[in-house]
Symmetry: D3
Subunit: 255 residues, 6 copies
């Protein structure tokens, strides 16, 4: 049986591959966060994992167990942390989690590590976790780390085609067309298309308020409509993302 | 589709169940740790998750995404942290992870929470995470938390039958008969029976040394033989564990 | 003498104003970071402070001493932390700094607090600092906090006029036309127009690498050209920003 | 334009000076703290900065942006943290702030660093920040750090002349003759001589109580009278301090 | 005067012994915790210290001052933290305390360090403290550390003789026959045999509940009866423990 | 047997006294630090404990186990942390240790707590520990805490008599006449008068250098001579200190 999932490999097989193949190890960084009535709470981790497995299969890589909990959801990109079910970490916890994981992969002898973030709010804490691990490992460490948000690999042409009336921007793309289409592509059984809400897109001011003004956010938690999502659009975007990451990985890690 | 997995539910469905049913929420606490040549690195999280899903189905509960990384493996119970593939957290990281998760479940309105630990080394850091969360929540919080190591629910009779030549104790039961049998019961595709090593049981002194004396540990990472493992034994132990937890949950949470 | 600067007021005067006027208190969040050969290292804190003082004068507010050090500069938005002179904080340090300051303003009786961020890399750590302070203060606290990046208040029309050949996006606007023009408006003596470099705009891939690929960044540290900067453009953008923040403050704090 | 202020230099100029001149870098450590009705909240940071600039001009040094927030004011040396306007950091926050700054200056190639403390309560946390940074930098680091409280450089003769009726000790010299005179020397516009209170000197027991016995402290926050303060006295003390620090710097850093 | 107690030696004598003799340094890890009506709150630290002194005398070692406060008492091994007098540390505090101490002994030149734990709840936090210190010291450090719980050195024969009706297990041995007998051997003046309670042994389920179910624990705090304790039994167990540790130390440290 | 030592009391007796008598609880804060060739490493904790027991006997108080490790020794008040045998904590560790202990005494129902510091370097970290505990306990907590350095209770007349040639100040009183005399009074067996060094008093500049200029400190570690120490002087100073603390305690705690 061949698998790209690290948690399904024995340590003997993992150790062999790391030492003989210097594979790219992918670490999916997700969240447990409301994604409207039509997508599951695990969307961010599930999608990041699915994309990682897809890319890993193309580049001979491995996928580590996802970080299933992420930084606190914010109203303007994730609906906000007041939703029931959203289960978030303090910034320092996420920083430490990433730092520890990176440190351990370096100890294993991994030299090519990619953190694939599927939750917008994670990115700076993931960054700091990497920075702290590398500082601790010191200047002689051989580990190189790539960090990315997967949606940034959708090409402009794809976005133009997927959003014929204009792309509303990644900010509002929470539980909307991109995530819903990707889920329809990878995990269609977990999508309830019939429950996609009809809320108009949220309209946020150029600032944040704390405590959150929860009335800014549609009660469904969906920031712009997921209407028009389809498995085909998901397949196309997944193609962009996986090709893009594979290409980036080959270039930066000299595969 | 009915599921016990929180990450497969929408927040709307999760919120409805939490407010209407006060379900028991199970949080599997695992690790990414060597388990010999015949079991996968994810064994602890996979087993804890499988057991949680099994129990949850019996008591109308829900299963939160597992903590897939755990505290540093120690030679005498997990082989030690020097194995390639073992990917561990600092104590403070695990404490914070548990504290944050417990705090969030309390915010959701969850009142019945069970942390099912599948990695021996986790237990005191998980305990501290719960203690810190409850202190922060204050004396008026309605949340009650159960914490357990799943193997402690195997009955004496079962252990006597499974180990006719005498139970070597949980200490040496790393990647051995209990875990291998449970994996054969729940996830047989991930077990390579043909690769079970023949190492004699490890013999440890009543103290620990740091840096680890790695020569104390069999090179395979298996602390006592997994020979004799079977799906049947796994089913029997899984029955004990699930019945036991279900009973405990009904009693303590007055279901 | 009338001043909006908190550090120039005696505590007696500050206390009187807080209790009698419930003024908006502005906390500028800056950095000490390379801004090319033509702008000073203190640009982010200096600009955030100047804008705060400008707005505070309009809304009867007060300006607290700036946070002069910020989170680690990143290549794609600040050139990267490898530049000599860039002097950065760990994420946890900045989180704690903001948390402590917010907690103290709440203790003073301040109910309207605005954190004006002038350093892109700060935003998530500033957010977490606010979140932690509010959690600690509890649900009965009267403090409301606004957080913003000042450039987000430039109107689309202004950006269209300032960048007739198309706005390159805030990402590349480090030490470029916006910051240089704002400095020419507020602190012209600190700008060396003659030293503006001719580097073409940086072209970054949709991912980050750690350790930083410093060759991605122009040696000057300027991510897109500051050519065409002028005090007039600065005045116009400062007008947008100050009007916008003043309006936001009046709306959200019901002044 | 020549400046000693780091925040007014471009990174190019700063980098050139650090590499060519090995200048002494001064980091003023202040606070935002009540200083009676006649001195501003920013006194500690303003004075520390002014003194640093004065010394830096004499020794060819540079002055980094001040730490504007300090450790919690204590009744017996700063009036106590209960005053409105006093805005303080937790000890751990200040420790981390100093540690990060020192680490960064070392990275720049700075080898001569002086932390000039203007807030009595800061000193041990500043010390710990330096200790932690140096431990992290390791025994081969070239950085040497001087730490001082500026008032300790007033000569005995000066104190005898400034306090003809006897020096009450630095403990009670909060917002009193030394600080007021130094402010009259450096920043006279920020002093309101007409508002100097007539409170008799505070009389403290040889212990502290927590929560603070706020009745121990004069309501004005002034621990001994500032009557008799003058710009002349300020000039004389500033001379002592600046000469003393310059001399110390030349001696210890072999300039 | 000859002493094994580090706190009674001058630094000159300590330094001489460390450099000339490479002595084993013992660090007793105790607690301040209820031990029923018949044993004092300091039992864990007092016993760990007494045993360390006994062993140190045999192997030419030294005993550092005990850690007198330990991790939070748990119902099933220490009665629980709700008892008045039990005075416990957070996990992170104990980790840091151990880490700092180990780091310092390494700096002294100590190469043989033994942490003797007398409080069951301490063990994982003590372990993490050692792990963190060794990671910080790096792979070239010469320090080796042994960690142990002292009761694990009682031989099976001794346990069989001391408990003729069957050993109830270390879990219930809190303030019971082992600790009481050891105290009668080492510190009889601190034992009140007349106050030994008659509570039957506690009967705990295979899980923990938080907040603690205090009704699980006998009101006396004694988990199984101390009846039958004697100085003779204490002497015999002390002999096992001291011989065992001495032997372990000689073997592992090649004395 | 009557004792003031908490560690010698059973929890039952401690609980009874706390609830019936509201006794003052004393927590000695010491260090493990070089004290020259004539005093033991434990001097600070031993003296603080002895003084606490002396005072407690006078006011019906109790003495908790001492904190035996303190903050890093500094050259100008303790000789510096480079001495072998000096075993110090990071600032954050000491803060946490004090915070945890204070929190626990409050939980016991203790309302009168006195932290008696015997190590100059501890004071600000002890202060922060108290501040953090009280903030956590909230404004309704009944606990009041006194903090002191014991030597501050020596009367001026006593100092004049003990130092006929003039008191050199507490700064240089490390392992000198005060500490040596107090040890001769309380623990004469631990003093080696014959080994008191003849070093002249250390002469420190008004600043500190890091890394420490160890050549500033006499090789013996004694900052001013202990010649002339006597048990009689110790008794007189102990009398001042104990009377002074007893009086302070009666006044502030309304005994």
């Amino acid at each position: 049986m061949t698998t790209v999932r690290m948690d399904q490999l024995s340590w003997v097989e993992y150790a062999r591959r790391v030492s003989e193949e210097s594979p790219v190890v992918f670490l999916p960084c997700g969240a447990t966060e409301q994604h409207g009535p039509h997508l599951p709470l695990g969307t961010d981790a599930l999608l990041a994992s699915a994309l990682c497995e897809d890319v890993a299969a193309r580049v001979g890589g491995l996928v580590a167990p996802a970080l299933s909990y992420g930084y606190k959801s914010q109203p303007k990109c994730g609906g906000g942390n007041h939703f029931c079910g959203t289960t978030s970490l303090d910034g320092q916890t996420l920083i430490a989690l990433v730092r520890d994981a990176v440190r351990e992969f370096a100890r294993h002898g991994v030299t090519r590590l990619v953190l694939v973030d599927g939750h917008y709010e994670n990115q700076w804490f993931v960054t700091e976790g990497i920075e702290l691990a590398l500082r601790e490992l010191g200047p002689t460490a051989k580990l190189q780390v790539m960090r990315l948000e997967h949606w940034d690999f959708c090409s402009e042409q794809t976005l133009a085609d997927v959003f014929p009336e204009g792309f509303p921007g990644f900010a509002l793309e929470h539980a909307a067309v991109i995530e819903t289409s990707l889920m329809l592509h990878y995990l269609p059984n977990l999508v309830r298309i019939d429950l996609i809400p009809n809320d108009p897109p949220a309209d946020f001011p150029p600032y944040d308020m704390y405590p959150s003004r929860t009335e800014w956010v549609p009660p469904s938690g969906v920031l712009s409509s997921a209407k028009g999502s389809s498995a085909e659009k998901g397949a196309r975007m997944a193609g962009d993302i996986c090709n893009g990451i594979a290409q980036a990985v080959r270039k930066e890690f000299a595969l």
